[in-house]
């Protein structure tokens, strides 16, 4: 009896110890994974805050040699590029996702899904080169339009796959209820299913925007960059990532400072989008229940 009790308590002790050990390892792994994020944020704030003045948002870049100035053109340019990318990428992404979820349970659907996953992992610079060949080379100059197309192409797989997944998540009861009231399949999808899935679809869209807002590579060959104020879609346009890149590799200290501030603004912009996405997801959970 005593031997049995002893062996039992030995197992008990071992189980408790391995439980604790794994717990500690898991926490350590989490902390290590979070360290870069904290360091990035800390460093960004430390380096970016000094040059963060109102003029940064209102003024254009100053010529080389003059200090001061801002990135107003790049901030507006990034917003324009996001708008163009959305105008181009969202219709394809959303409608494609609806197709996959509602009619894509076949070979074609599986192929499209696979293609979307491949497209999602294509390096962004390759997409930049593709759009260069498709639009920039024939037009013979860089343009905001081509930048928007490049970013839009990058949005399509994310938006398409999240729409696909979330439209699938809408309970069959919603579909059946609409069908039983005399709605056609297509009408059911666009009046009830999309409404039930809207929170999730919006999240997907915001995540896709957050993903492309910081892209530099596809813009190097398309939107190119611009040191002057331009909102013309046919002309090269400035953007925060490209501007940061240009300033960061320049040899001037005040450009470096401005690049840090630009990075801070860009990260904040993406962070805000993330928070909005979170908020939209919460809404979705409440709606679907």
């Amino acid at each position: 009896m005593t031997a049995r009790t002893a062996s039992r308590s030995w197992f008990h002790w071992r189980r408790r110890m391995s439980n604790r050990l794994m717990w500690v390892i898991a926490i350590l792994a989490t902390l290590i994974a979070l360290t870069p994020l904290v360091m990035v944020m800390y460093y960004l704030l430390q380096q970016g805050l000094p040059a963060l003045k109102l003029s940064f948002f209102t003024q254009l870049p100053k010529p080389v040699g003059e200090t001061g100035g801002g990135m107003a053109n790049a901030i507006v340019g990034t917003l324009i590029l996001i708008g163009l990318a959305s105008a181009f990428g969202l219709p394809f992404g959303i409608l494609g996702g609806v197709y996959l979820a509602e009619f894509g349970n076949n070979k074609l659907g599986q192929t499209i899904r696979f293609a979307a996953d491949v497209l999602a992992s294509v390096p962004s610079i390759v997409i930049g080169i593709l759009v260069y060949g498709l639009i920039v080379a024939p037009m013979k100059h860089f343009s905001a339009f081509s930048g928007g197309v490049a970013l839009g192409i990058m949005m399509i797989p994310t938006v398409m796959r999240t729409t696909d997944e979330l439209v699938r998540l809408v309970p069959a009861s919603q579909r059946e209820a609409a069908l039983s009231l005399g709605a056609s399949h297509v009408k059911t999808v666009f009046t009830v299913v999309m409404l039930a899935a809207r929170g999730g679809v919006i999240t997907g869209i915001l995540l896709a925007i957050a993903r492309i807002a910081g892209e530099t590579a596809p813009l190097l060959f398309t939107a190119f960059g611009n040191r002057f104020w331009s909102v013309k879609l046919g002309e090269p346009i400035a953007s925060l990532p490209v501007q940061i890149f240009t300033y960061a590799i320049a040899p001037y200290d005040d450009w470096h400072a401005q690049a840090w501030t630009g990075a801070l603004v860009l990260v904040t912009l993406i962070l805000v989008l993330g928070i909005v996405a979170r908020y939209a997801t919460r809404g979705r959970v409440r709606i679907v229940r």
């Binding site: 209820a177 069908l179 039983s180 009231l181 056609s184």
Partner: protein, 270 residues
């Protein structure tokens, strides 16, 4: 326990003349999911403006049967139907029938209330809007009428533009009934409409059904035999995809003719 008695052989009880004409006639209905046959030669006539209850153990095919009546099974891959279903004498499987129009005439209330993620008003107006039945003031009147018919108006008239998800389960189910009534259905199919509700909500739905049968033909699938006995005029007992017995509810519950019906309603299985 012994319900079989000498009355068994007396004519009259079975061959009573129906007071109502048949709204739906089902002839030799067979239904298959792929190779699996779910319904075997089901034949019965559903009377107009009456409540018909379908009872039977889980998986006996009663829900499948209900869903063939407005062709909701069409959505399922590999579903196949043989036989005829006549709605007012017209075969619902004939190629001339518009499924969308059929579903408007034969509405459906599901096991779990499924309000759309929109306001109470929009939920009720949904069917009328997509079918282009009414607009503007006419639509408002239609919604009010449907909500009154579903005995929900007094509870929701001040919150019409609030999300329907805020209603209680019983209210949601009445909302779903109102939604069906608003498309001016003639037949209402109910697939265990009370199984997710508490007794008080159940009582209000049953009361509602009894009132609605003055204007509508109602077919209800239920696991609750007391409910079938309370509300229905006629009852059909399904077992393994066959309609074992179909007769007036009072007769079925007091004097079942088939041993299997008797076993089921006395709780020996199921």
């Amino acid at each position: 326990m012994i319900l079989m008695n000498e009355e068994l052989d007396l004519p009259g009880a079975v061959n009573e003349m129906p007071e109502n004409p048949a709204k739906i006639t089902i002839e030799q209905l067979n239904f298959f999911y792929g190779a699996k046959q779910v319904l075997h030669d089901v034949t019965l006539a559903i009377k107009e403006r009456s409540i018909t209850a379908l009872i039977g153990p889980s998986g006996c095919g009663k829900s499948t049967f209900l869903r063939t009546l407005n062709r909701m099974n069409d959505v399922i891959d590999g579903a196949r139907t043989k036989g005829r279903i006549l709605l007012d004498g017209e075969d619902i499987f004939s190629p001339e029938i518009d499924v969308v129009a059929l579903r408007r005439r034969v509405g459906m209330v599901f096991q779990r209330p499924a309000p759309f993620p929109m306001s109470i008003f929009d939920n009720v107006a949904y069917g009328a809007r997509i079918n282009g039945l009414a607009r503007g003031a006419e639509l408002t009147a239609l919604v009010e009428h449907a909500l009154r018919q579903a005995a929900l108006w007094d509870e929701v008239k001040d919150v019409l533009y609030q999300p329907a998800s805020a209603l209680s389960g019983g209210q949601q189910q009445r909302l779903c009934i109102a939604r069906v009534l608003a498309v001016q259905s003639e037949v209402v199919l109910m697939d265990e409409p009370c199984s997710a509700l508490d007794p008080i909500s159940t009582a209000s739905i049953e009361e509602l059904m009894l009132r609605l049968k003055q204007d509508y033909t109602i077919i209800i699938v239920t696991h609750n035999m007391q409910q079938a006995a309370r509300v229905s005029d006629e009852t059909g007992f399904f077992l393994n995809g066959e309609l074992i017995e179909f007769a007036e509810s009072t007769r079925i519950f007091t004097d079942p003719r088939d041993k299997r019906t008797e076993d089921y309603i006395t709780g020996r299985f199921g």
